[in-house]
């Protein structure tokens, strides 16, 4: 699925963990692509959704707002929301906006998958 300059791929690591690969920009115009991918990944039985930011090109404050909305949905469904692949710059943005207190951040997919278990 593609919306604007964002494309999302959804992978299932095992029955209960989904990885959403982010490619492109996350802005307020990315809502449909981001939420459609979340809905696909967070189907029945999903215990954790992992966001792969390795392909992130740019994110503005509207994009951060969408991540908050996604976090609310994950909390409501009692799912963990985790992330990996963030550059140092975007790690700092997560700290500045204090999203790192609610979204677990890891260096690699393997570490995120371990934490999801």
């Amino acid at each position: 699925m593609t919306q604007g300059t964002l494309s999302m791929d959804v992978r299932r690591v095992d029955g209960s963990v989904a990885v959403l690969d982010i490619n492109g920009e996350i802005t307020s115009f990315s809502e449909e692509a981001l939420m459609d991918a979340y809905a696909e990944g967070a189907s029945d039985g999903t215990k954790a959704v992992i966001l792969n930011f390795s392909g992130l090109e740019y994110m503005n404050s509207g994009g951060i707002g969408l991540l908050v909305t996604m976090l609310v949905r994950a909390n409501r469904a009692r799912q963990k929301l985790l992330a990996y692949g963030l550059t140092e710059h975007y790690r700092q943005i997560f700290e500045l906006t204090r999203l790192d207190e609610a979204i677990g951040i890891f260096d690699t997919e393997a570490e995120a998958v371990d934490a999801a278990a």
Binding site: S28, L56, E57, Y58, M59, N60, S61, G62, G65, V68, T69, L71, V72, N75, R76, T87, H89, Y90, Q92, I93, E95, L96, T97, R98, L99, E101, A102
Partner: protein, 236 residues
């Protein structure tokens, strides 16, 4: 490839607490040393409020709208509310002080930090003690052949007192505040009597009781105490 340079210039640098370097005359600095709070750290229900005005028949661009809005931000606020921008303007990382009209003539003394700023948007984030935890994004875009100006709030009340205040007329006051701000902006850009659309969504109905202790920073309590301090004029 990550467009880091473009992004780095737009976001504030990481800070653990706010620092106000200069307090303009008439302002009160009650935010020094406070931490920023996202909607995640708030107490009340989470709301997304979007206020939008179409500048149809006005020859302008999203860049021009944001430039005018950012450069003259305080002048668009409704009367009785004061916004003290930093001398350097609304640049990422800068802190602005606020005196906002509250119920019963009380003035809420608080502030915001510029979280993000680019050609077509800028975002203000609230610190501990503000009425709500979250951010407000001011943006402009093209839609249906017209330039649109928009303010979007993503927030939770910071504490039980603020939640009660919002439920008892605070939300209505806030809606009127941003609707008037957008009408003032539209008039400045050449569109008188513009109609503002308001769209309010409850993103999360749950209250985060573990955050009830935010009340120790409450702007209502601190502003009242500040007002009662000897040598202070009443109502700020």
């Amino acid at each position: 490839m990550s467009d880091t340079r473009r992004s780095e210039g737009s976001w504030a640098r990481p800070v653990s607490t706010l620092t106000v370097t200069e307090v303009p005359e008439g302002a009160a600095n009650l935010v020094d040393g406070k931490r920023l709070l996202s909607p995640v750290q708030g107490f009340g229900k989470m709301w997304q409020k979007t206020y939008r005005v179409s500048l149809d028949r006005v020859a302008t661009t999203p860049e021009a709208v944001i430039s005018a809005w950012r450069d003259d931000f305080p002048s668009f606020w409704p009367r009785g509310n004061d916004f003290y921008p930093p001398l350097t303007g609304l640049e990422p990382g800068e802190v602005a002080l606020i005196k906002a009209a509250g119920p019963g003539g009380l003035k809420f003394k608080t502030g915001v930090m510029v979280l993000y700023s680019d050609d077509v948007s800028f975002t203000l984030m609230t610190p501990e003690g503000h009425m709500f935890a979250g951010w407000i994004t001011f943006s402009s875009h093209e839609a249906d052949g017209a330039t649109v100006a928009q303010a979007q709030v993503l927030m939770r009340a910071q504490d039980p007192l603020s939640e009660m205040g919002l439920a008892m007329g605070g939300h209505r006051m806030e809606n009127r505040f941003w609707e008037q701000t957008l009408r003032n902006l539209a008039a400045h850009l050449g569109k008188e009597d513009a109609e503002v659309s308001t769209h309010v969504t409850c993103v999360d109905r749950r209250r985060q009781w573990s955050r009830a202790k935010n009340v120790r920073h409450s702007v209502a309590i601190r502003s009242t105490l500040h007002m009662l301090k000897p040598g202070k004029k009443s109502a700020g």
